[in-house]
């Protein structure tokens, strides 16, 4: 029993100590604040219902509170004394003397005086209701209201009778971590809704209180301890969501429409077809499984004409190989000039001369040449004649045949050129800018006899007859080695071996009076059919 009582007494004592300590903290903090803010020598404030007046210790350190006398009077009544106490402030290392009047008269003028050793030190007249120094508000609460950018703030007023309707509050709020805050003032009411806040943000809120100044006046209380609140995240406006979905749907439909209408074009751009030569050789890869000999034998006549026709239509860097044609038989205004072999070599190696291309696109000249070639074939003895031509294009003649025939072929091939060049003279050489397909003489390989292209006055090309083989060397890399040959020669195809299409420009010195060197061009390897 005694143990229980002693425990209870201990608890009560601890509570009282805590209360006094808390109150003491409030008291000391208020004193410290007024020491800074109040300019009067004797500073007074009302805490609760008690009036406290205090003053600072003077310069001399040996002051004792017994030296001081505090008196007060009001409404012409006699002066009444008040006990003086001292307090050492830990924060500012200062000592103050104070007097606390318990339940002083309000709404009456008080006259207070401080005397030291009988002499008046300080004097002041004041109304107690004008110096209220309230404690901070209690139970500050910050809650989310559920609405975007809003917080509900509520608190309880300090416990003070008769004055609840004379309070004014100041609410300060700031984003956590930020020093920039806003202040809202509210009268009498102890709750406030903060508006216009950022969504999904943590806020700090403080509150303080003061008498409104009509019936009661006083100092601002200390700020409460900060309380945190989080604003709700922003709601997606349903209208915006609908609009976004609608626009997205429209964009999808548009892109789908574009894709469906242009899918072939897009496919071609993104995934281009790998060019194959199949369309040039109908049935070669499907029927004859790539056996060109068979295919050739089956498709001899029509294929030639067709391929020739196709090649004439070929636009990309056509390098037409003419059969050996003696153009001198007609004695026309054809003129052929020979370029230095080096140019020929370069042109052959390039294979995509734009000049060649341009010239190839002139069908009238092709027709004229065809006619010439036809005529020449019909009159082989006219090969010895040559005519000087202004040339712009290059004709490369592939001569297919046995080795033993090569000399003859060479002779046949070179003769027209030789003849041409002997009659051409130097003037043509200087004016012509076209390339000269140099002759190629190589044993066991396809030979090329090149002739300059010509520029015809009437811009006509001779038609290409079935007896003449042309090879337009296109970029596809497929090259066919044709030679101007009759059907008898075609029969000999099977006897020739497969060769890679190495073009080697070799100029026999005895054939060419003014080219005394071998020129080897850059060879191009093209897989060609077996001859």
């Amino acid at each position: 029993m005694t143990k229980m009582r002693s425990d209870r007494l201990k608890i009560v004592f601890m509570l009282c100590l805590a209360f006094v300590t808390t109150g003491g903290q409030h008291f000391e903090s208020k004193v410290a604040q007024l020491l800074q803010d109040e300019t009067e020598d004797i500073k007074c404030f009302v805490e609760g219902k008690d009036l406290t007046c205090f003053w600072e210790e003077e310069e001399e350190k040996n002051n004792l509170h017994d030296q001081y006398t505090f008196t007060y009077s009001y409404e012409n009544k006699n002066k009444m004394p008040c006990a003086v106490s001292s307090l050492s402030l830990l924060a500012s290392n200062k000592t103050i003397f104070f007097c606390k009047l318990s339940k002083p008269p309000f709404f009456a003028t008080l006259n207070v005086q401080v005397l030291r050793d009988g002499r008046m030190l300080y004097s002041r007249s004041l109304n107690a209701e004008n110096f209220l120094f309230l404690d901070p508000p209690r139970n500050l609460t910050v809650l989310s209201s559920g609405k975007e950018g809003q917080l509900n703030v509520s608190w309880l007023p300090p416990p003070l009778k008769y004055m609840d309707d004379s309070m004014i509050y100041e609410v300060r709020y700031a984003v956590e971590g930020s020093n920039m805050g806003k202040v809202e003032v509210i009268k009498v009411s102890t709750m406030l809704v903060l508006l216009g806040l950022q969504s999904d943000t943590r806020y700090k809120v403080w509150v303080r209180v003061k008498p409104d100044g009509v019936s009661y006046k006083g100092y601002w209380s200390a700020w409460t301890e900060p309380v945190f609140g989080v604003t709700p995240p922003s709601d997606m406006d349903p209208l915006i969501v609908l609009l976004v979905l609608f626009i997205g749907l429209i964009l999808c439909l548009l892109s789908l429409t574009v894709f469906l209408s242009q899918h072939k074009f897009l496919l071609k751009k993104l995934w281009p077809d790998i060019p194959t030569p199949e369309h040039k050789f109908p049935g070669l890869f499907t029927v004859y499984k790539g056996d060109f000999k068979e295919w050739m034998s089956q498709n001899n006549g029509s294929m030639w004409g067709r391929s020739v026709h196709v090649y004439t239509e070929e636009l990309a860097s056509p390098l037409e190989v003419l059969s050996e044609v003696s153009l001198t038989s007609h004695g026309t205004s054809q003129r052929e000039e020979r370029k230095p072999p080096e140019e020929e070599e370069e042109k052959e190696s390039e294979r995509s001369d734009s000049g060649l291309t341009d010239r190839w696109r002139e069908p009238p000249q092709a027709h004229w040449l065809m006619e010439q070639l036809k005529a020449l074939q019909e009159n082989p003895e006219s090969r010895s004649q040559s005519s000087l031509l202004q040339s712009h294009d290059t004709y490369v003649t592939l001569n297919q045949g046995d080795n033993e025939r090569q000399a003859d072929d060479v002779f046949e091939e070179t003769l027209p050129l030789q003849t041409l060049f002997t009659t051409a003279g130097t003037s043509s050489l200087s004016t012509s800018r076209s390339d000269l397909g140099s002759l190629q003489q190589s044993s066991g390989s396809g030979r090329l006899s090149s002739q300059s292209s010509f520029e015809y006055p009437n811009h006509t090309w001779p038609p290409k007859g079935p007896g003449y083989a042309y090879m337009a060397v296109a970029d596809s890399g497929v090259s066919m080695d044709y030679s101007p040959m009759s059907s008898s020669r075609i029969a000999e195809l099977g006897r020739h071996r497969m060769y890679t299409n190495d073009y080697k420009n070799e100029i026999f010195p005895h054939k060419w009076p003014f080219s005394g060197q071998y020129i080897k061009s850059g060879s191009e390897s093209c897989a060609g059919p077996v001859w």
Binding site: Y74, F107, A108, D165, V214
Partner: protein
């Protein structure tokens, strides 16, 4: 003599107020009305402080006591409080009227006239709160409280200060604790 004159003036005020019987009023419980009167009383003090000439003469004025001891006040019943308020208002009305006769300064005279009107309005408010009935029961039996409830001031500025303190103190406490207003709130 002074006590007797004070008592007579109080009686006259009561008769005057009794003569002005009006129909029962709706209770006026909004203290912002009283706050308005308090501000105008403070304005008079400010004008008085800035007055230079024609600001009245030095003469004694009988005014009520304004000090409030909450511990004592809470022990007085509402009727006793009402009596104190009624007496104080009547004394102030008389004093202000006497003072205005000696004031030639126009702004100050206007301010004093406002204050007198406000005191009359407060009478109506107390009437609406049904607090005037107490006077007839209390006053004949207790004349002594009149002397203890008054004081004398010697200047207009002191008179205005008393008016301000009286309105903010006793009158406000009475109105905030008026039973008619408590019945409305509950």
């Amino acid at each position: 003599m002074q006590t007797f004159s004070g008592l007579v003036s109080v009686l006259m005020v009561f008769v005057w107020l009794g003569g002005n019987q009006v129909s029962p009023l709706r209770p006026i419980c909004d203290l912002r009305v009283l706050d308005h009167f308090v501000r105008e009383a403070r304005d008079s003090e400010v004008i008085m402080r800035g007055c230079r000439g024609g600001c009245g003469v030095m003469k004694p004025y009988l005014v009520p006591l304004t000090s409030v001891d909450f511990a004592v006040w809470e022990h007085i019943d509402v009727h006793g409080q009402a009596v104190e308020v009624w007496i104080g208002l009547s004394l102030l009305d008389q004093a202000l009227s006497n003072a205005m006769k000696t004031v030639s300064n126009s702004p100050l005279a206007n301010a004093l006239d406002n204050n007198i009107s406000n005191i009359h309005s407060l009478g109506h408010i107390l009437h609406s709160l049904d607090l005037q009935q107490a006077r007839s029961t209390v006053l004949p039996d207790d004349s002594a409280p009149a002397s203890t409830q008054t004081q004398e001031v010697s200047s207009l500025s002191e008179l205005l200060q008393v008016q301000s303190s009286f309105l903010r103190g006793k009158v406000r406490l009475l109105l905030s604790a008026a039973p008619a207003c408590q019945r409305q709130n509950s």
